[in-house]
């Protein structure tokens, strides 16, 4: 049996702002993936030796690279925030009969984010 699929224009997500925000959230993963590929290339250059690594660091200074990273950061932050705010929905914690307030589940995510970011910066910058 072939299921019926209602015809839908490919631009359905432009019709309403919640749909658009949904699409932006899905799109964040493209920028995150692109960034980790750049990170992988950086590690490869580090393996190849000093000249390759320094060329890689130099290429990060091109205006195109800086613009890309700024756009990627905006999308990455959108992912971080939407992801944190989904946690009370994915994990409905109850104490007895009472459902724990969503804010109490969201807040620790921000604390963990701040602590981990500080640790990573400390390791890299030493």
């Amino acid at each position: 049996m072939k299921p019926y699929i209602r015809p839908m224009p490919a631009t359905w997500w432009l019709k309403r702002s919640p749909y658009l925000l949904f699409m932006i959230r899905e799109l964040t993963s493209v920028f995150v993936a692109a960034y980790v590929v750049i990170f992988l290339l950086m590690i490869r250059s580090l393996n190849e030796g000093q000249a390759a690594y320094e060329a890689c660091l130099e290429s990060l200074k091109s205006p195109l690279a800086i613009v890309f990273h700024m756009v990627a950061l905006a999308f990455a932050l959108f992912h971080t925030i939407t992801w944190f705010h989904l946690t009370p929905k994915a994990m409905a914690v109850r104490i007895g009969e009472e459902r724990v307030k969503p804010a109490l589940i969201i807040a620790p995510n921000y604390v963990a984010w701040a602590v981990l970011s500080a640790i990573v910066a400390w390791f890299i910058l030493g």
């Binding site: 950086m42 320094e54 890299i124």
Partner: protein, 115 residues
């Protein structure tokens, strides 16, 4: 109930979402913005220091997790986004290509870090 491999992909998607949310922003800020704009000391990312940092087994494991899991996160989201955009007919092919790309990226990352 028919067996499904969906829980595996969903777990990888979810773990990748956590890694991307917590760790990717600081990496973009440090390497992609602060360094090129001269906001870090000139020798902050010096070759010998970074090489020594990467020589530690835990750093390698960290880099592997940071690269691999967000690729699976992307694969899972992008797969369903393309289907949502109307590519219902190619759903299986899209799934194979997306997860395949994430697996390929993971293998390249492993070879780069431990090869």
């Amino acid at each position: 109930m028919a067996k499904s491999n969906e829980p595996i992909w969903w777990s990888l998607f979810s773990a990748g979402g956590v890694v991307a949310a917590l760790l990717v922003p600081i990496h973009i800020v440090l390497f992609g913005i602060a360094w090129p704009l001269g906001m870090l000391p000139a020798d902050a990312l010096e070759f010998s220091r970074m090489q020594a940092l990467l020589a530690h087994p835990l750093t390698r494991l960290y880099c592997f997790v940071l690269i691999s899991l967000p690729l699976f996160h992307w694969a899972h989201r992008f797969r369903f986004t393309l289907v949502d955009l109307g590519l219902h007919g190619a759903a299986m092919l899209i799934a194979v290509l997306c997860y395949g790309a994430a697996i390929a990226g993971t293998i390249v990352a492993a070879l780069t870090l431990w090869g």
